[in-house]
């Protein structure tokens, strides 16, 4: 790979061992994927392992070991940075059934990570939706370690980023560069397949869960091929978009997709396809939607022990919908409801009275934490409005996987009040 003078200086160690290690990692990544050179970035979204990936026990130690050398002597980042949620809000760790010794370890490992990154002047977003805080432009190169955020910056902003992992994004923030490869290049951005709604699909009647199901159904058809979505209403809101992008980001290997008539590189289908013929055209109808709902509802038991919401973090509309269901009522004594959002949205939810309604009902509305990991130690069926969360709740721990019910946020709120799942599936 060709290096410029600045990159060679970093490689020689003139800016310290952390910078040297970071450029070494990027060169290894660049060589692995056949990049000819690096490209300068202007922004990075960080996913530090010791902040987020089970910061206790042996994996907590391993997480720290992965970044120790990179961060040992750096003085700051060369670009603006935002950051992923942390593993757990320690105030509610007991509600999530973690034993005290593990909470103590979290406090140390997660706490040290927070201290370090804030000292490095990361913008303390602690969310997988950094695009609510930091918007970039068409063609701008960035580095993002987070599946929905990668897909959002590429798709919605037309910015350029690969599916970077946490180490690559950290190395990118330390050096200001990434390998010029994949979705950074025009040749790997155009749509390859077309996704169309069947005649039974009415997007105007979709709730939050329906968008998740549509996204899962689409991802099972297109797999790793970049899709162009046809027929999506051009006035689609933030909540629907979050659900549409979050699921397919996890369920496929995609860095970029297109929504015809909406996203900057897809004003028309022809533009999205960039002169190529689509490899396939997939129709998502009622059958595919039902299959998606059936896959996401793994539990036969309709008694709900936990309602976990906010993967990715709840939008203001979702918080409002939840507050509407809970208003003036009490959550069932056998159920814990925990909902996570961003700091800015929590402030708005406070101002609009939604936060108080949720708390008065006995629910917990928190910020900064990753709700996808909140199921890892709990016993009993979990209800959620996120198929991304279903993937993680059912995926951690082969010996005792969580059982899950999936439906709209209103159905989840209803289950919190009665302790019973009344959804269709």
């Amino acid at each position: 790979m060709q290096l410029n003078r600045e990159q060679e200086e970093m490689l020689e160690g003139r800016q310290g061992r952390g910078v040297q290690k970071a450029i070494e990692m990027l060169i290894a990544m660049g060589n692995a994927v056949g990049a000819e050179k690096m490209v300068r970035i202007s922004y990075a979204h960080l996913m530090p392992p010791d902040l987020m990936f089970f910061p206790y026990g042996k994996q907590g130690k391993w997480a720290h070991e992965m970044t120790e050398e990179l961060t040992q002597d750096i003085q700051g980042f060369k670009v603006a940075t935002t950051i992923e949620p942390m593993f757990c809000d320690l105030c509610i760790a007991r509600d999530l059934q973690y034993p005290d010794n593990q909470i103590g370890e979290m406090q140390k490992i997660q706490g040290e990570a927070i201290h370090f990154y804030e000292k490095m002047k990361v913008i303390p977003t602690y969310t997988a939706m950094p695009f609510l805080y930091y918007q970039t432009k068409l063609g701008q190169h960035v580095s993002i370690a987070e599946s929905i955020a990668t897909l959002w910056f590429n798709t919605m902003f037309g910015s350029r980023c690969e599916r970077d992992d946490g180490i690559t994004a950290l190395s990118a923030a330390i050096t200001g560069y990434v390998p010029l490869t994949g979705s950074h290049l025009e040749a790997y951005r155009h749509a390859e397949v077309v996704i169309k709604p069947g005649t039974a699909i009415d997007f105007n009647s979709f709730n939050d869960a329906d968008w998740d199901a549509y996204s899962l159904a689409a991802s099972r058809k297109c797999k790793e091929k970049r899709p162009a979505f046809l027929g999506i209403p051009s006035d689609i809101g933030l909540t629907a978009l979050k659900h549409l992008l979050a699921v397919i980001a996890v369920e496929s290997g995609l860095a970029v997709m297109h929504i015809v008539g909406l996203t900057p590189e897809a004003q028309t289908l022809q533009m999205a396809l960039a002169g190529t013929e689509p490899l396939a055209e997939h129709v998502i109808g009622k059958k595919e939607m039902d299959e998606a709902y059936a896959l996401a509802n793994t539990s036969k038991d309709r008694n709900i022990a936990f309602v976990l919401l906010g993967c990715p973090h709840l939008t203001l509309r979702e918080i409002r919908d939840l507050a509407e269901v809970l208003d003036g009522k009490k959550i069932n004594k056998n159920v814990k409801l925990i909902a996570a959002t961003t700091r800015l949205l929590l402030e708005q939810a406070e101002d609009m009275g939604f936060a108080r309604v949720i708390r008065d009902a006995g629910g917990i509305l928190t910020t900064d934490m990753c709700i996808a990991f909140a199921g890892s130690n709990v016993k009993g069926t979990i209800a959620t409005n996120s198929i991304k969360a279903v993937f993680f709740y059912t995926g951690f721990c082969a010996s005792a996987p969580n059982e899950v019910k999936f439906g709209s946020i209103k159905e989840c709120g209803g289950a919190a009040l009665t302790g019973r799942w009344e959804g269709r599936f």
């Binding site: 290894a28 990544m29 060589n31 692995a32 994927v33 056949g34 996913m47 392992p49 987020m52 990936f53 042996k58 994996q59 391993w62 997480a63 992965m66 992923e84 997988a128 370690a145 987070e146 599946s147 955020a149 990668t150 690969e162 599916r163 970077d164 992992d165 946490g166 180490i167 690559t168 994949g182 797999k223 790793e224 980001a249 996890v250 369920e251 496929s252 290997g253 860095a255 896959l295 793994t298 996808a372 991304k388 279903v390 993937f391 993680f392 059912t394 995926g395 951690f396 721990c397 082969a398 010996s399 996987p401």
Partner: protein, 139 residues
């Protein structure tokens, strides 16, 4: 025997092993258990199979942003595949392979998930960026 030419993520020599082939995308963070190597994803065509010590043949990686960490934990648990062979490379899978030191070859003309069968004995040559089926299952 059949030979498939691709490119390797790094020169890590030659390894041989039994193929575990899936047509579904593979996630190592949430999709497979990092302590056992078992594929746990609901609806996955290889659910219940174990990736440890296998030459894992799959279309491409998928999953959340934590993929590379999941793979690293799998490696530290001693349950990583012997080699990764895939049609397309996902950045997060590549990073995981580099962190753990797993040989990985990708980017073939053919669809390797159709060509190679579970149980085939496969040689993965990272120095030449190629994969060879030495013995078909049932031969």
């Amino acid at each position: 025997m059949a030979l498939y030419k691709g490119r390797s993520v790094a020169k890590m020599g030659v390894v041989e092993g039994e193929a575990l082939v899936t047509k579904d995308l593979v996630a190592f963070w949430g999709g497979a258990d990092w302590e056992t190597g078992e594929i746990v994803e609901v609806g996955h065509d290889a659910r219940g199979k174990n990736v440890a010590g296998k030459v894992l043949v799959f279309p491409i990686g998928k999953g959340g942003g934590g993929e590379a960490f999941g793979y690293y934990y799998l490696g530290r648990s001693g349950r990583a595949p012997k080699a990764l062979v895939c049609n397309r490379s996902l950045g997060q899978t590549v990073a995981g392979a580099l962190l753990v030191g797993t040989p990985m070859v990708y980017g073939f003309k053919e669809d390797v998930t159709a060509e190679i069968k579970t149980g085939d004995w496969v040689r993965v040559d990272t120095d030449r960026g190629q994969v060879e089926v030495l013995k078909k299952v049932g031969d």
